[in-house]
Each structure stands twice: as C-alpha cells, then as structure tokens.
Amino acid sequence: MAVTELRRGIVSVAPLIPGVVPFGMVSGAAVVDAGHGMGEALGLSVVLFAGASQLAVLDVLGQGAGVAVAIASAWIINLRFLLYSTALAVHLDGLSVSRRLGMGYVLTDQAYAVAAVGAEERSTTDTFWRFLGAAWTMWASWQVSTILGVVVGDRVPEDVPIDFVIPLLFLSIVLPALVDRPTVLAAVVGGVGAVTAAEAGAGDLSLMTGALLGIVAGTLADRGEE
C-alpha cells in the first residue's frame, strides 16, 4: 500500500507543478536581484522552504526594515502551518516520532491538502505515504525552479496567468471536503473573513484570520446540530 499511496500523493500534486515553477523562479530571481547568488537562494529554498515567507524576508530586508522584522514576517506568514500540523496530527497517532518530525520539514499547503482530505477513511500509514508523495514532489519542484530562477532569471511570460493553477487546485481539493452544513459554513466564513481582513489591512495575517474565523463558525454550527 505504501507505493500505491506514495504514487497517489505524487499524482495529486503533479498538476500543480506548472503553477509552482514560476513562483519558484521568481523566488530564485529575487535573490539575484537582491545582490546575492545560488548559496543564499538555496539557503532560502532548502533551509526555510516556505515560498511566500521567503519572498517576505527578501522584501523586508530590501526595504531596510531589519532582521527582526524579516523574521517576524516570515513567522506570521507561516502560522497557518500550525493549523495544518494540528489537523494532520489527529490522523497520525501511532506513527513513529522520526516520521512525524520528518513530515514537519516538508509540510506545505499542497501536501496538507492532499493528505488531509479524506484522511478519516484511510489508515495512518496510508496518510503518511500519501503525504510524503505530495510533499517531496513539491519540495523537488521548488528546488529545481529556484535554481532555474537564479540561473536564467525570472522568465515567466507576464500574459500567461499560470499562477492561477494554484487556487484552482485548492478549489478542487476543498469542494469534496464540504460534506455538510458546518464545513460549508467554515469555508464561506473562512473565505469572506480572509478577504475582509485583507481589506481591513491585516496584511500577512489575513489568511490566518480568515481560517480561524471559519473554524470557529464551523465548530459552532457543528455543536448547534448535535
């Protein structure tokens, strides 16, 4: 089953690769634009390995706002992983500590989405292998595209909106997870909450704000139905 689930994880995130490559190239090219090279680009992509926060670190330092602000921005952007990690943990009781510690390094939006949706119906090891397939596929795509970005620069055609692949895939993953009224409410409040928070100037905290509001709304609806 390990191989089957590994393959399922890979197949599930494969359509995302065209969407991730331009993003990785931009991240690599941004390091060159900031006056640095391959070492720093790989430092960000391998050591930090969290796309949006990598760009934030460069942006904040580039504006001269200081190391502490750069670090804080990265942490805030990455706070959502706390939710993913907790939600995944429920399905991984009994898995060895070393496997769980290894999962943390490659936890991304994509890997979480692929592994978590439908996890109730899978065994712990199946979820683990599906996660690994998705997570390491994302990792490899990210490193290759970062290196490409450093070497050839940001050669993404401006008029092809390939970045739209990413929200579309999340959309296709989230739809089957909307199985009852509370989950639908969680999604609606999560989405509206994030956009409203962004409009209100929450910046990097918008996503987390929306997600938390959605979780609270869904939970309340769930309890109301008991």
Partner: protein, 106 residues
Amino acid sequence: MIDRPDLWLAIVVAAFGTYAIRTVPLALAGRVAALPVRARRSLRMVAPAALSALVCLAVFRPDGRLDLVGDRVVAATVAGLVGWRTRNPILTLVVGMVVLLALERL
C-alpha cells in the same frame, strides 16, 4: 543591497521558528488525538476554512485589490461548478485556466 550576514541570520532564525510551527503539533500527535471529541471535531474545519481563505484571497484580491467581478472570479466560479459536479481535479484546473485565458483575450 542586503547585508549577507543579515540575510543568513534571517534565513536560519526564520527557518528554525517555521520548523517548530510545522512540527510541534505533529510531534505531539498522541496528545492531539487524545483531545476531547469536541475539540477534535473542530479540526475537521481546518481544511475547508484555511483552503477557502487561500482560494478567496487569490480569486477576489488577485493584485492586492478587491475585485468581486473580475476575470478570476468568473473563471473560479465556472471551475468550481465543474469541480462540484465532476469531482475531477484535472478537469477543474483545465476549465478554470481556459475560461481565464479566454476572458483575458477578449
């Protein structure tokens, strides 16, 4: 020009905290699973809430400005309907991209 030691310090400390954020709940999996049923049930809401937040920010604020009737909203709506009916992720992607490209070319 960003100072090299500054950049590396930021990378290492940001990465350390990020790893902790990603890993601590996973490391405590046994305790998370031992949470009361009510608390565990709210974790069921994480995927709908967080993924919908990601999608909505990308669809309704593509350039950091609110756009409730933009090309991306139309494309995501059509793709969403297709995804809802077919449960086919690849078809959802293709339909969404084709609609967006068509709208942008008009």
